[in-house]
């Protein structure tokens, strides 16, 4: 492989793992594999469970206004008047999960939380994916010193454990907002996607369909865009599915460290767990239990689906 053996030791293994994964999916390539993988996926109960969890989560997120009993930011006098230092009202009529520390309807906040959590997870994943794919595609398609430079940058980023890198990025911004969190979590994933795509492009450069296209005189730009990129996408999609789970966990961790979104109206599960859930754990642990269970369930769903997809696409499992 060209361009390796350069500056960093660091996660030579992290790197090798990504490259291995890509090579495996890339060499398999092609439509029949995807169809076959799809069939295998449908037979895998883990994939079905994962997909069902994700679907449920999506439905709640999309239809939050219909599902939620109330407005998530409204403070209810009947709830606020019962708030004291060491008690937060539990379930009452009209408020099935009781109150949050500011007298807002907790059930509604949980429901809208699906929306905000989806927003953070999807954006963090997508931004990481787009930047990573772009860098990886450039590195793989252009080669030469551009490739070396891009890969060296990803090496440096992989030298820090991912959550620490995210903490560093947020800390370097002088003030946190929802966007610093999203971008920090996204940037952490850029090197992974970049390596993934580059590896896949390199593996394909010598493959029969690309050679055939080149022999037919197809322009380089078209070879990259029409032949190489689409074939790399399966690996990217699998990685994105797994990344989503990590993204919402990282966002929750940042909230817990006090680096999260400072907007007190924002109903996002990581924020609800990491700030109020933890602060009032002894007063009303439900404030932590509900968002924590929601996060675990969603992360589990994406991990199950992502791993089943990876397994289904792995030609080693081909029968």
């Amino acid at each position: 492989m060209s361009g390796t053996g350069g500056i960093s030791t660091l996660a030579d293994h992290k790197r090798r793992r990504i490259d291995e994964l890509t090579a495996r999916t890339a060499e398999a390539g092609g439509v029949s594999l995807i169809r076959e993988a799809g069939r295998r996926l449908l037979r895998n109960p883990a994939a079905i469970v994962g997909a069902a969890i994700i679907l449920l989560f999506l439905v709640i997120a999309v239809f939050a206004p219909l599902v939620a009993p109330h407005d998530p930011v409204q403070r209810f006098p009947e709830l606020t008047k019962e708030l004291t230092v060491d008690s937060i009202p539990g379930a009452t009529a009209g408020h099935p999960l009781g109150s949050d520390p500011l007298g807002r309807d907790f059930a509604s906040r949980m429901t809208y939380g699906a929306r905000q959590t989806l927003f953070v997870g999807v954006l963090a994943t997508l931004i990481g994916l787009l930047l990573g794919v772009l860098l990886g595609a450039i590195a793989g398609a252009v080669g030469g010193w551009v490739d070396v430079l891009i890969m060296r940058i990803t090496d440096v980023m992989l030298a820090l454990p991912s959550l620490l890198l995210a903490i560093t990025l947020v800390a370097l911004a002088s003030r946190s907002t929802q966007w610093t969190v999203i971008i920090a979590v996204a940037v952490v994933n850029v090197p992974i996607f970049a390596r993934l795509l580059r590896g896949s492009m390199l593996a394909q450069r010598e493959s029969d369909h690309v050679l055939a296209a080149r022999a037919l005189g197809v322009k380089r730009k078209d070879i990259v865009l029409r032949h190489m990129l689409p074939n790399s996408l399966t690996a990217v999609i699998v990685q994105a599915t797994l990344t989503f789970a990590v993204a919402i966990l990282d966002a929750a961790a940042l909230s817990f460290l006090g680096l999260g979104d400072p907007d007190i109206n924002r109903a996002e599960w990581g924020l609800m767990l990491g700030v109020d859930g933890v602060r009032y754990f002894e007063v009303r642990p439900e404030l932590a239990y509900f968002p924590a269970c929601a996060i675990i369930l969603v992360a589990l769903g994406f991990t199950l689906l992502g791993e089943s997809m990876r397994e289904a696409l792995d030609p080693k499992n081909r029968r």
Partner: protein, 335 residues
Amino acid sequence: MVRVIARRLIQLVVTLIALMTLVFFWLRSLPGGPVDALLGERATPQTRELLIRALGYDQPIWVQYGRFLKNVVTGNFGNSIRTGEPVTDVISRSFPATIELAIAAIIIAIGLGIPLGYLAARHRGRLLDNATIIVTLVGISIPIFFLGYLLKDWLTQDVHVFPPSGRITTGLGNTDVTGFFVLDGLLTRELDASADALWHLVLPAFTLATIPLAIIIRITRASVLDVLDEDYIRTADAKGLRNATVRKRHVLRNALLPVVTTIGLQTGALLAGAVLTEKVYNWGGLGTLITDSISGGRDYPVLQALILLAAVVFIVVNLLVDLSYAIIDPRVRVQ
């Protein structure tokens, strides 16, 4: 072998220089630079001016950069903005706490992870295997700080089994030798101090071990399953070797190779997890230091040094793992 190590060490230095360069320029590209971040927006022009001069920000960027690199090489990271002490002092004081915690966690993760993964693979598809798969999946999906609070709530409030926070009971009169409290107790024959420190270590170590444990179990299981499929295992069985021999010499030895790599990579998860775990248990190590350096106004000199330290630890551990490969896998030595 020596050449491999030398090459890797050179790579390490280059990566670190690149990392520091990025951090350096990033800090200076902030709107207002570190000065505003340090003083806040209400500082008077005079104080700003003083601080700028004191930190040397009035000089050309290349001069600043050169001096910065020189300082890093000589181990001079400046003084903490929060406390005014030298950064190296602040860090070396917190260092043993985190290392003690991380070592305990990795012992738990390896000590439980490999046997559990192996058992799950041997009982593939049965209850034990399925239960293990589900538990490990939840283990990698749970926010570990939440798990920390759960454990703390159950085992220190509901049932008073473990102490809720800190590294050792205050007022125990233990002698501080190395900063590693368990070790100190053994060195000075204050065995009660060692026991007390160990007792404090249990919950934080288990919390921190969660993710590495789940991952080691999964990798061990997958790896053992792969190896069990190999022809040489069938051959060994067919030769009539005793079951225990096959397991020890053929299955485990081969299956553990990928696990070793994973253990190296998990140091990363440990460093990041320590930040969360230490906050839950008020541990007072490097993780606490990171949190404090961020939340009480950004303490950039400390942060810079911590980032560098984290990268060094991560890279060095992975280098050691690679070298250990040569010892446990003769095939690598040949290459």
